[in-house]
């Protein structure tokens, strides 16, 4: 199936190993507030050392799920196991879990050192041990010089690192991060993403990250759980999620996609033929799963997997033609919006390989669009 196709040898994939014991196990966890179901029957396994992202739009229940792991919310039904222990009824201060809050929640009346050392102070560690470990942790997050400052004397990025240090000082086996990078600007965010991944690999801590930013999820995670309206709709590696989206929602939520409705007309040796009313010619799909002949299917094609040319391709399928309506130059790539005869607008991206190479295709020009058999994906509604 799809997952095994993209699995690269050498990379540890405990989720494909039936003998591996999950570090976190959620069993049909549901959380409802009054008449609103925030998390709906979620079952999920997360393994030791993973960097797992819960991805979804606002209000999809991802933060509620994280708060249930931390112990701030109790599931309405279902059970949560961390390291084999049932967590029901265990308060946050007794869980082997630490959390980094979206607002960072740094104590404003304490210095950076006091903030970072708070967790150890609660464990009644000796003064010298606290000082040593705080210094060590501040060095790790490169804040050694700022130990005496108060949180409001720090920049956003520094605050983020204090919050991370404070959450890591108790050496938790599981760290929960709620939108860890949302408050940072774009450049700093990209930089911090890699820092976070490095730190996670260095310490071997299991990270569960909540984010609404699909790019962030793609960069950070070993696996992504895509959430929609309280349910997990797909779990997989970034590559699986992007290349083999499980349904229309996932396909449209992760990256951008061109979606065509159609019907399967032929199935010869793994090559499916789909008739789409919006395209003049049939679509051939090399890696789809055959469905009942008359069933309605959705064909998803990513914008970067469509090629543009000025001459018609010599093929019976997998191409169409249209008029260039819009060109957006983004520097590294350009986005073309092309209107087909059927009225449907298709999005195509082309990398700008050569400098100032925008002579060949311009506005209002008739162009041909074609793609390889392996590019389209069939998804359920």
């Amino acid at each position: 199936m799809a997952a095994s196709e993209v699995a690269s040898p050498g990379v540890r994939q405990p989720w494909n190993d039936p003998a591996a014991r999950p570090y976190i196990r959620l069993e049909r966890v549901t959380k409802s507030f009054a008449d609103f179901v925030a998390v709906n029957e979620v079952s999920l396994n997360i393994f030791q050392g993973e960097l797992f992202c819960l991805l979804g739009g606002s209000g999809c229940g991802k933060t509620t799920l994280l708060r249930m792991l931390a112990g701030f919310e109790e599931p309405s039904s279902g059970r949560i196991f961390i390291d084999g222990l049932d967590m029901s009824g265990i308060p946050p201060y007794e869980r082997p879990v630490n959390m980094m809050f979206q607002s960072y929640a740094l104590f404003p009346h304490m210095s950076v050192e006091q903030n970072v050392g708070f967790g150890l102070k609660m464990e009644h560690r000796s003064r010298s041990e606290i000082a040593d470990r705080v210094a060590q942790m501040l060095k790790l997050v490169r804040l050694a010089e700022l130990g005496q400052r108060k949180p409001d004397q720090l920049s956003g990025g520094q605050r983020q690192r204090v919050a991370l240090a404070r959450a890591l000082i108790k050496q938790p086996k599981l760290l929960l991060l709620d939108e860890p990078l949302a408050a940072l600007d774009k450049k700093l965010r990209e930089h911090t993403q890699f820092e976070l991944v490095n730190l996670q690999e260095q310490l071997g801590v299991t990270f569960v990250v909540v984010t609404h930013d699909q790019e962030e999820a793609m960069t950070l995670s070993s696996r992504i759980g895509v959430m929609e309206r309280g349910r997990i709709v797909q779990v997989g590696t970034p590559k699986e999620i992007y290349e083999f989206p499980g349904n229309r929602f996932v396909a449209e939520f992760i990256g951008s996609v061109n979606m065509f409705e159609g019907q399967q007309t032929a199935d010869d040796e793994g090559l499916l033929r789909i008739a789409c009313p919006e395209l003049e010619r049939p679509v051939q799909v090399a890696n789809g799963i055959a469905s009942a002949p008359a069933a309605r299917v959705w064909v998803a094609i990513r914008p970067e997997k469509i090629q543009l040319s000025l001459t018609p391709p010599q093929a019976a399928a997998n191409w169409t033609q249209g008029q260039v309506k819009e060109i957006a130059y983004l520097g590294d790539l350009s986005v073309y919006l092309i209107r087909l005869a059927s009225g449907k607008t298709i999005r195509v991206t082309r990398p700008n390989v050569r400098r100032c190479d925008d002579q060949d295709i311009t506005w209002e020009q008739e162009v041909f669009l074609h793609w390889h058999d392996s590019s389209p994906v069939l998804v359920g509604a």
């Binding site: 809050f101 607002s103 967790g119």
Partner: protein, 339 residues
């Protein structure tokens, strides 16, 4: 492309301008104030300065000027006349050089000579301090409960705290007389319940004084505390719990230190008026209670010794200014660290 001009657009615009300028002409107070300020030589006055000037003028007229008058009287000598004190300046002859400055620091020395005043000051400070502490002990849980209550209930609960203000202060104090007197509501209730077999003397005791002060000033404690606790970021408590901190410990190490500004503000709002309080000890307290407010009243109205009364007032002000300055510096340091 030129924006499309609506038919009659320019006429409408003109009418609007005329309406606006007409409205400006109908604002005499503003023009009057402006003209006055220009005549006073305050040129280049911008809106901001003008706005700041209003409270300053108010303070100048209704605080600083009366204060200077009281200060002046406190250094003069009493006499049986109208007004009952001697002027500070008087002419011994006809020439300008004959001006004699008649400053009398004796009123202040007198405050130290007669132990009555020092005892009254000490007693007032003690009553105010204890009342403030009691108000804090009662007010903090109250403010905390309101701040953490369901958002729907907060406004109602807060209303219940403010509601007594809708009745006159004096009436509320008189009401306590009705409750506390020997055949009052409380004694009758306790007798009826069988807790006591003869009435307990509650009115005109120190207990009644404390009760009255705490009751009357409790809202001043609750309000700033509520304002502080309500805006506290609750994720801080979650962060503390997450780091292994039990709820009670989280309250002590997070909530309490963060609510210091509210505690200081509430304590000052209760302590300062309580020190100079006259009505409550006069109506509810023992007849021989030594409160500085009562001493001030006696000096002014019974003894008609305006200079000594003024000296008492000035001394009271000094006693109160010291803690205010101290706490303001404390808060200034706390907020200064935040910038």
């Amino acid at each position: 492309m030129k924006p499309a001009v609506q038919p009659g657009g320019s006429q409408r615009f003109g009418a609007a301008v005329r309406r606006l300028s007409g409205a400006a002409r109908n604002l005499p107070p503003v023009r009057w104030t402006q003209a006055l300020l220009v005549r006073l030589g305050v040129r280049g006055l911008r809106g901001r300065t003008a706005v700041i000037a209003v409270p300053y003028l108010w303070l100048l007229l209704f605080f600083l000027v009366p204060f200077v008058i009281v200060l002046k009287i406190s250094f003069s000598e009493a006499q049986i006349a109208m007004p009952p004190y001697q002027p500070l300046l008087h002419w011994a002859g006809d020439r300008l050089a004959d001006i004699r400055l008649n400053v009398n620091p004796g009123n202040y020395l007198y405050l130290f000579e007669d132990s009555l005043y020092l005892r009254a000051f000490a007693n007032s400070l003690q009553v105010a301090a204890l009342s403030t502490a009691l108000a804090l002990v009662i007010g903090y849980p109250l403010a905390y409960a309101i701040a953490r209550a369901d958002a729907r209930w907060r406004a109602i609960l807060l209303m219940l705290v403010i509601l007594p203000f809708w009745t006159s202060f004096l009436l509320r104090v008189y009401a306590w007389i009705g409750i506390l007197k020997s055949n009052g509501l409380l004694n009758n209730l306790l007798l009826w319940l069988g807790v006591i077999d003869h009435p307990v003397v509650m009115l005109q005791t120190d207990f009644a004084t404390y009760l009255g002060i705490v009751y009357c000033y409790l809202p001043f404690m609750v309000m700033p505390l509520y304002a502080n606790l309500e805006k506290m970021d609750l994720s801080l408590l979650e962060a503390a719990e997450d780091l292994g901190c039990r709820p009670l410990r989280a309250f002590i190490s997070i909530t309490l230190p963060l609510s210091t500004p509210g505690i200081v503000a509430g304590c000052m709002l209760v302590f300062i008026p309580a020190v100079g309080e006259y009505v409550i000890p006069a109506l509810l307290g023992p007849a021989d209670s030594l409160m500085i407010g009562k001493v001030l009243w006696t000096e002014f109205f019974n003894n008609r010794d305006w200079p000594v009364a003024s000296a008492v007032a000035i001394a009271l002000l000094l006693v109160l200014v010291a803690p205010i300055v101290y706490f303001q510096r404390l808060q200034g340091r706390a907020s200064g660290a935040r910038t």
